[in-house]
Structures are given as structure tokens and as C-alpha cells.
Amino acid sequence: MLTKLPFKNLVNRPARSAALIIISAFLSFSVFGGAMVLSSLQIGLGSLRSRLGADIIAVPDKAARQNDLEAILIQGRPGYFYMDKENLDKISCIEGIEAVSAQYYLASLSAGCCSMPVQVIGFDPETDFSVKPWIQKSYKKQLNEGDVLAGANINAEAGENLRFYGETCKVAAKLDKTGTELDNAVYADSATVKMLMAAAKKKGVGVLEKNDPEKLISSVLIKVKDGYDVSKVSDEINIHLRGVTAVKTQNMISGIAQSLSGISEITNILMWAIRALALVIMAVAFSMMINERKREFAVLRVIGASRKRLAGIVLTESVIVGCMGGLTGVLAACVLIFPFGGLLEQKIGLPYLVPDVKTILLTAVSAVLAAMIAGPLTAAFSAVKIGRMDTGVILNSN
């Protein structure tokens, strides 16, 4: 019966118990929710970094000047720019370069899948080291001419057809989510993308009208050999190739990393403030509760409860409150954060990728444990206080 007493005490005062559970839920919400948002942003950034794959990207001067490169590669804005294919061979001759691969960008006018233009990114399967490792997680076979791979946010499934510039392309597979704007693009090998560029030329698309698509590339992705300084190699390219700008990918990501660091800092401060506030409120609430119930505890002393036993009752109540609050907080965070991850990504404009199930579960368990520990921690002072109270004085005062 004594073991059930803490439960009965909580059930007996539903409003008081609910208030304590809600405060405890705030704590676990901040622990779990904060950790989820921050790690989603970290994973998103990591995913973007590994997706870019290259140390340097060489693009036409004009694209670099107008920030088109960053907009297309990182923000996923549909667009295109081209330079002479000869640049690929010239770059590969520069000392310190381990690998080069050309990419082709084409923005569709409209496609069957989407109400907005879609970015088509073409890669050379023979030399690519950036797109293929990621694609191979979803699609291991060779792409045929006319096949495309759809980013995770493209509204088309494997086997369906998409139409670009009047050409029909078959969706060979849908790619894994990266949490970046690259999920909004369609990927094709160089043969397919050149076919599409030719179709675009027929439709009179800008620069393609005057040039042969076979002689054009959009960018060159460059991997630098170990032991070589990326900045020096980049400078070499900029010095030796006219009309071409080499951009270090680290610089492209550093802006995002900076924003992420700022957001992390603000989120951390906010979350710690919520945690501290929740702990203080819980401690005050427990202290008030003990004060309100001191006659009840005095009666327990009258019938033979030791000080330790009284403290045990208070601490058990606080563990139950912590456990229930912890679960409520985690549940609330799941309901609020996971369904609105996409919206959050849009609002903060940073890559956002939800962690795997194992990480989510571990974080959830940690958040519930934190709330369960916070309960007894905040109630400890009150538990000591009842241990010290003078039963006779309390009984006499009524």
C-alpha cells in the first residue's frame, strides 16, 4: 500500500500533478527538440558537404560573379551557364589535380512533375566522383540514354515519365533525401543531358541557340591531390585560364556553416534558458507542494514513517512526474518538429536532414532520462526539508 501512495497522491491532485508534468515536459521538449533541430542542421550540412564532393569548382567568370553557382548548387535555384569544353582538358593539366569531372546544368521550362521549373544536373559517369557515390545508394545500374534520377522532393516515382523541352525521360530511380535543395533537382548522365540541351536549343533557349551543346560544359568539379594546397591550385586555375573562375567549395559552404553556427548558438541559449527556467519552476513547485502537504507528512510521521521514508515518497512522486513529463515532452516535440521539418528548412534556408531512427530513439531516451533525473534533483531540497520538519510543531499549529 505504501508503494502505491505516491501514485495515489498524484492521482488525488490531478491539477497539481498535471502542472508539474507540463513543466517537466517543457524540459524534455527542450532537450529532445533542441537536439533534433541542431543535429538535423548538422547532418544537413554534412550531407551538402559530401554531396559537393569536390575541393574546387571551376565555372565561367560570369556565373561566379553573379553568384549563380551558389544559387544553383546550394540553394537549388534552377539556372544554367556554360563554358567551352576545352577548359576541362586545360584544368586537368594543372599540377596538383587528382581528378576532374564536368557537369552540365539545365533548367527546365516546365515538367510533368512540377509546377515550377526543375534543375537538371548532368554528370559524366566515366569521371564523376561527386554525384555517383550518392546515386549508387539508390541506383546501382548504368543509366541508359533518356533515363533520369529524380531528387527526393521531385513528384515522380521510378518507372514514371518526365517531359523536358518536349523530350520524354524515364525516371530510373528516386534518390535518397539529402536535406538540401539538391533534392529538388533531376540528375542525368552526360548523354541524356546533351540530348536535352539539344532539345532546348531547338526551343531557342538563350546561349544554347548559338552554340553546339556537344562543345559545352557548365562546370568542372576538381579534386586536389593529397599534399597540395587547395588555395594554391585554385589560384593556378584562375591565373592560367581566361574566362574561368575557380571557387573553393569550402568557401561556398562556410556561409552556411556560419549561419548554422549562429542558429546553433541562439537555439542553445534558448534551450538552456528553458531548461533552467523549468528546473527553477519545478523546484519552487515541489517546495510549495511540500509546504501545502506538511500536515499530511506530519501524519505519516505520527503513524511511524521515518524521515527517509518521507523523502522516498516525495522523490518517488518526482520520478513519476519526471517520467510522465519526459514522455509527454518527447511526444510533443515529435509531433511539432518532424512533420514541419520541411517548413523549418524553408524558413531558415539551411540544409536540414532528420537523423536516423537509432539516433532519434537514443536522444528520446536521453531526454526522458534527463526529465526523470531533474524531478528528484529539484525535489531533493523539499525532501530534505520535510525530513527536518518538526512534526510536533506542525501538529500543534493546526
Binding site: 500500500m1 505504501l2 501512495l5 495515489k8 497522491n9 492521482v11 488525488n12 500536515r295 499530511e296 506530519a298 501524519v299 505519516l300 510521521r301 505520527v302 503513524i303 511511524g304 514513517a305 521515518s306 524521515r307 527517509k308 521514508r309 518538526d390 512534526t391 510536533g392 510543531v393 501538529l395 500543534n396 493546526n398
Partner: protein, 226 residues
């Protein structure tokens, strides 16, 4: 003799000024004997309840000793003193003293389960509730009871362990004449059953049930003759 107060007193400070204090109970000796009902009468605030709480191991005396079967109870560690109070002392505190989360029956049975996990005390609890006239309320909660019914619950709870000593602080407060008589007869019966019973009251009618009567006045205890 089963319980003996030896020169106990209780002093309280009015504020942090150490010179400003008063005695709630002045230096007092009080023996409680098996088979006797001892009554202490006096006005409110005279120190009766303070003395009872010191005898029950609930309030440390400023000086002196309380001996149970020759052992100084305030020399015992808290756990042992609590166990002793649970097993051998039945206390009826002043005012409402039931736990609001438990039913009447659970309140009465709680002292038994304080240090025991097995055994069934339901029949004895039912029997005691019947003796104090609230068996029909066994499944009710304390907030559904009248003041008098709450007092009777406290008496049944104090008797659940068949204790050696019963300390009752104004047990007939809030009770009508019939219930007052029932409770006093119950305490008298306990004394006749070789228990040491201490009754703190300011009702003169209750004194006729006592073997010894003391008067408390301004913290000073004096035995009344005859």
C-alpha cells in the same frame, strides 16, 4: 510503568534574540502505567499537546528524557524511533489527520503496512471501524467525512497495531455526546486491556473515565487529587 517522562521541558525562542524565549512545557515528570488511563486537562495553549508530542517521540524535549521500557527514545536513531512509534504507540493527533489520497479503510490499515509487505489486516480494520461506528464509510475518502467521523477514523488507525501506549490529543473534539461516549469507552477499554492510555482533553466529562488526572497550566503540570 511503561512510558516515563523524566524532567522534560520544551523551550521556544520567540526570535533570533537568544534571551527572548518561553517554556511551552516546564520541567515535568510524568509516568504512564499499563492498565491506566491518564488524563491531562487544561486550557488551550497550556502545553498539553506539546507534552503529548514529546511523549510520542514527535518533538524532541529541550531537556530531560522520555523512557519507553527503560530506553531513552530520543537517543534512538530516527529509523528505530519511527519503528518503535509505529509498533508500540498509537497516536490520535489533534484535528483532521487522514491522508486525503486514501480511503477510510486504507487510512486505517496504513500503519500496519508501513514496515510490512505481507499479511492481511482488513478484518481487524473492519472490526475497528465498526467499533467506532464508521464501517459503512470504509470506502469513502476523508473529504467526504464530517469532522467527527474523521476523529473516529484517527482513533481506529491508532488502535490498528494493538499498541502498548495510546496517546490521544482531544479525541472527542467535534463529536456529539453519543460518539464522545463511544470514544471514551473505547479508550477506557484499551486501558482495561493493559494499555497505557494518555488522554489530553479540556472536557471535564472525560475526566470521569480516567484513573489519574493532571492539570496543565502555563506549561506546568500538577496532579489533581481524588
Amino acid at each position: 510503568m511503561i512510558l516515563k517522562a523524566e524532567g522534560i521541558s520544551k523551550r521556544y525562542f520567540r526570535n533570533t534574540n537568544t534571551a527572548n524565549y518561553f517554556y511551552a512545557v516546564k520541567k515535568t515528570d510524568l509516568p504512564l502505567f499499563r492498565g491506566e488511563l491518564t488524563a491531562i486537562t487544561g486550557r488551550s495553549g497550556s502545553g498539553k499537546s506539546t507534552l503529548l508530542n514529546m511523549l510520542g517521540g514527535l518533538l524532541s524535549p529541550t531537556e530531560g528524557r522520555v523512557l519507553y521500557d527503560g530506553r531513552d527514545i530520543y537517543a534512538l536513531p530516527d529509523k528505530e524511533l519511527s519503528k518503535l512509534r509505529n509498533a508500540f504507540v498509537g497516536i490520535v493527533p489533534q484535528g483532521q489527520s487522514a491522508l486525503s489520497a486514501l480511503t477510510v479503510l486504507e487510512n486505517v490499515m496504513l500503519p500496519y503496512y508501513m514496515y510490512k509487505k505481507d499479511g492481511d489486516i482488513k478484518d481487524r480494520a473492519g472490526e475497528l471501524l465498526e467499533r467506532v461506528g464508521i464501517l459503512s464509510l470504509a470506502n469513502a475518502y476523508p473529504n467526504e467525512l464530517s469532522g467527527g467521523e474523521n476523529r473516529r477514523l484517527a482513533i481506529a488507525r491508532a488502535l490498528i497495531h494493538d499498541p502498548d501506549i495510546i496517546l490521544a490529543d482531544e479525541p472527542t473534539g467535534d463529536l456529539d455526546d453519543e460518539n464522545t461516549k463511544t470514544v471514551l469507552e473505547l479508550l477506557r477499554a484499551a486501558a482495561d486491556d493493559k494499555k497505557a492510555v494518555l488522554l489530553v482533553t479540556h472536557e471535564n466529562d472525560a475526566l470521569s473515565y480516567a484513573d489519574r488526572v493532571y492539570r496543565m497550566n502555563g506549561g506546568e503540570l500538577t496532579e489533581c487529587e481524588g
